[in-house]
Symmetry: C2
Subunit: 212 residues, 2 copies
DNA sequence: TTATGTTTAAAACATACGTTTAAAAACTTA
DNA sequence: TAAGTTTTTAAACGTATGTTTTAAACATAA
């Protein structure tokens, strides 16, 4: 007698969870609404009911966690700023790079929460049709703008163009690392394992700092 | 009376050209066979006739230029090796990095030939379903293996794992740069233009060398 | 020319897709 | 309970998809 289905108030969240994962592993076009609803054990119409369209669902997946992640980045920046002020020095390059990379990398390696999946989703979203994803980029740009003055203070000789190019390169390393984390074992003939969250972050931050 | 259609022996190539471009701008699933054949001004069945299936077409697009590009990389490596030997020194880090990055970057900026499109296609192909694309990766891995001893000679303290990670990071920077070349103008508020082929290559090589 | 193999053409097939509709079910509030 | 709102369900719609089929057009060589 327990087969009676009650209304589940978490339907919306379950759809988001499932599609976050599917969109992280495949392109927008390759993920069907039906594959989402069936895996979420939800009626087909639920997607259109809650999100209007497939495109609306995609954007909702993005929005759900984007704000939080960029807040974390700014928070780390402020922490580093205060610490530096207390010690009467500039914010170090390492602190800056770390503030930008730590949230996504930590999320990535946090299997507990669903954040891990989101980071892969995000890296993939960057490659979707430009017009749809420009808004996504905008928010990150605004965050990065707050970092630029600090980079400039470290090396006043750097032009803004130099700084933007290097931030751009940093994001490249990060997104690529995220998307190909499992493939690196192929590349190295199983020589190196994925490694812990701290290990990856350490390698990444070092590479980016030296690149800067 | 010129509307009589002769047999066009270039049908196969035209299909490859068009799909290379479409696959460079969109995911595998988002590109329809019909969009390919109509833009190539070719009958719908031609794709299945020449390539068996859509998947076959995709792989054919990859294979057409992959071998050539990796040959170019190895060629540059040999050139650097001979020059270094003649001068009685080791191959420099810069020469190694340059040998790996120059072919794709030069191709990327070469609007004349169709190579430019191929590089973008390639970067996108890396994100397609793993099982289909592992063969694609295999070839690059084999090429990179030939570079490893030279990196080791430069810095014998480096472990193989270190080297593979850094090669991995390099490819990340490159692919990301390729895929987001137009977006960098957004990121920098139009502060920096795309720049010439040499400029991009120079920035990229420098960043990667320093990262190493 | 005729015969043979290759390439193009148009149509149809079966299926999968995103979305809509309309009614039933579950929940909320009075 | 009764009325009203929100959520879930099943079915259908129209369209787009990859692929197959069958025949016509072409090229080449005997």
């Amino acid at each position: 007698m327990k087969s009676k289905k009650p209304t589940r108030p978490d339907t919306r969240e379950r759809i988001l969870d499932v599609s976050e994962e599917l969109f992280a592993n495949g392109s927008f076009a390759s993920v069907s609404v039906r594959s989402v609803t069936s895996r979420a054990d939800v009626n087909l119409s639920a997607v259109n009911y809650y999100f209007g369209s497939k495109q609306g669902l995609f954007q909702a997946v993005y929005v759900r966690r984007a704000t939080q992640m960029n807040h974390e980045r700014v928070h780390l920046l402020h922490e580093a700023e205060e610490k530096a002020q207390a010690e009467g020095r500039n914010v170090s390059l390492r602190e800056l790079v770390s503030a930008m990379l730590t949230p996504p990398i930590f999320w990535l390696c946090d299997e507990e929460k669903g954040f891990s999946v989101y980071i892969r989703f995000l890296a993939r979203a960057y490659l979707e049709e430009a017009s749809d994803m420009d808004n996504v980029l905008r928010q990150e740009v605004d965050v990065f703008d707050r970092f630029v003055p600090f980079f400039k203070k470290i090396d006043p000789e750097l032009s803004e163009e130099d700084i933007y190019w290097r931030i751009h390169f940093m994001m490249g390393v990060m997104h690529h690392t995220i998307n190909h984390l499992d493939r690196i074992s192929i590349l190295s003939h199983k020589a190196c394992k994925r490694g812990s969250r701290e290990e990856i972050l350490e390698r990444l931050v070092k590479f980016c700092c030296d690149g800067f």
